[in-house]
Symmetry: C2
Subunit: 215 residues, 2 copies
Amino acid sequence: MTQVEVIEAVLGGNDEVAAQLRERFDAAGVRTLDIIGSPGSGKTALLEATLPALPSALRVGVLVGDLATRRDADRIARVASQVVQINTAGGCHLEAHHVEKGLAALDLAALDLLVIENVGNLICPVGWDLGQHAKVGVFSVAEGDDKPGKHPPLVLAADALVLTKSDLLPYVPFDRAFFEQDIRQMNPSVPILEVSALKGDLAPWLTWLEAFVAG
Amino acid sequence: MTQVEVIEAVLGGNDEVAAQLRERFDAAGVRTLDIIGSPGSGKTALLEATLPALPSALRVGVLVGDLATRRDADRIARVASQVVQINTAGGCHLEAHHVEKGLAALDLAALDLLVIENVGNLICPVGWDLGQHAKVGVFSVAEGDDKPGKHPPLVLAADALVLTKSDLLPYVPFDRAFFEQDIRQMNPSVPILEVSALKGDLAPWLTWLEAFVAG
């Protein structure tokens, strides 16, 4: 009984902070994304390619979560006006209080879009509300076509799924129909957006993202 | 205070069960590996290629952890005499009690090597003792050369690191020297074993594994 009470208290705290964050985002007119995917699924590379391809008037900030190093923030700083690296010191996901701390170093009034690149992990980040308006799941073709079927919580929670590294399709075993079939059994309507950040092929994702920012 | 006590009790329980498991493995003469890597790093493909390449007298059992599906166990059943799929129902790592339950379906006396393929996750499984004799970390070249630097706990804990999907090296940005440099700063002596399961290039890993089984 004690254990359940403690867990509920922790989750309650997160959801309260997340609700306050969402109010702040809405008041500032900032649309906010939580991007979730495995380590090496290409989340940072996707942002590096995406940000310069967006309309130049769009002001984008990025919060990047990692266990260690500031490398992702350094990469993204070249293409975003505001970036904050959050090191979780071993933690496997971001929580709302991490985002709250990160916002202290951001000027929300000078942003239209805030992207939260979560810690590389297909499992743990899914259940945590960060005050975002949408969750985006990222799978790379190099991970294999069976990853959605083995990770139902993310597929069920995602507002969009990005399939990255399509340039590797000729070199890896990957059955696109099998990949989609697993997703459709769980989430019949989620957009599946195939991209190659390396080649700059981002069209379906950019279309989705611009519509998302427009609200 | 209550929260800390609850967590300590849970961890204490795990380490006790893990110690009992290690005693059982030792009594049965079974060497045991815990394999940890991201979703899609190629853990299952590595086992599919490895098991048929081992000396035929070597009897290998596999415990496979996943959030959902029995697909990995079905794949490995073609090459291993004994396989058990453990579904964690959303859990992000295996714990000693999962392994204990899995052993109920295995005949330890008929095994020389037990491989535990952990849930695909570079973070959460690292700290949990499963009674294994060694931990093997898996990184794929498709994940990028920066993953060891961003995941110190696994690099520090690993007895061996396998670099998979070397067949993709011509097609992905990956600096082998950078990858190794990060590892060496944390773990100067851990073997780094480059393989391609797709091409059957497994030599350094097979050599390490056979020496490990020999004790």
